[in-house]
């Protein structure tokens, strides 16, 4: 029960910030995909950079564990291509479709219904995919620090610097 409450509170905070950051909009999502408006990328990458440093700090303090999904080239690459195609058509991703509905953009409702249908279809296709695409290039649970054999506190600042460089460039170009 407590864990469900944590979920709800985390969602409310996250949804609030998504709305205030103006990233729940079709125009912003398509703006990013059309390389015209980088609002989404600014929000997402800043979020990732802060969370990356914070989560690794928690891990080093022994207060949290990482949750690493396996790298499966077949599933990741094919899934990514298919996801991108659908994202471009819908203009919302799974979480933002629900959020967009919350601020009254009710075309997202068709997207949510479509996503439920897509999830049902995937469940039907899973036995086949499990023996095909999901076995191609299974590299297991990888992280960059582990792959390169260096401390994560070398990778994290490099990622942050890369992100900052990108942000300065966005602002210079007015994206």
């Amino acid at each position: 029960m407590t864990i469900l409450l944590y979920g709800l509170i985390t969602g409310i905070l996250f949804g609030f910030l998504l709305q205030r950051g103006r990233v729940l909009r079709y125009d912003k999502q398509l703006g990013a995909l059309r390389l015209m408006d980088m609002t989404i990328v600014k929000f997402m990458l800043t979020s990732i950079l802060v969370a990356m440093a914070g989560v690794y700090l928690l891990k080093d303090l022994g207060w949290a564990q990482l949750s690493i999904k396996p790298t499966i080239m077949g599933g990741n690459i094919l899934g990514g291509l298919i996801f991108g195609l659908g994202w471009g058509l819908l203009g919302y991703c799974p979480g933002t479709a629900v959020g967009a509905l919350g601020e009254g953009r009710w075309d997202a409702l068709w997207g949510v219904l479509g996503m439920l249908a897509g999830a049902g279809l995937f469940a039907e296709a899973y036995p086949f995919l499990k023996t095909t695409a999901l076995t191609w290039g299974n590299l297991g649970k990888l992280t960059l620090p582990q792959l390169l054999g260096v401390s994560h506190w070398l990778i994290i600042p490099l990622m942050a610097l890369g992100g900052l460089g990108l942000f300065f460039w966005f602002e210079k170009k007015g994206l």
Partner: protein, 132 residues
Amino acid sequence: MEEQDSRGWNPYLAGALSGLVIVFSVGLAGKFLGASTTFVRTAGMLEKLLTPERVNRLEYFLKEIPQIDWQWMFVAGIFLGSWLAAKTGGDFRWQALPAMWEGRFGPSRLTRAFVAFSGGAVAMFGARLADG
């Protein structure tokens, strides 16, 4: 659109705060943020209303059990949080068609419904295949 934009927060600030939300979630609840598994669980719950024995046999629904969990509540929370922010910020408004869509594809709601539904189905299939 410009006038509406002025009411938003700086995306770097909102992004950084959302990063802190992630850190607190991981630290306090041990939960990383995600949304797409919730669509699988909900699809399973809906299918269960029609064909319960079939859902119980599908391997994917044994992996992702159709029930309400942390992430399901998180996704419900996104809806509430967005509604709350839009209401308190004064930019809640019912909108059938995004401006950019209407400018390019015209005022047909049926076309938008068809493309949005198809796009949603394709996107979710891809997201699940990539396990993301």
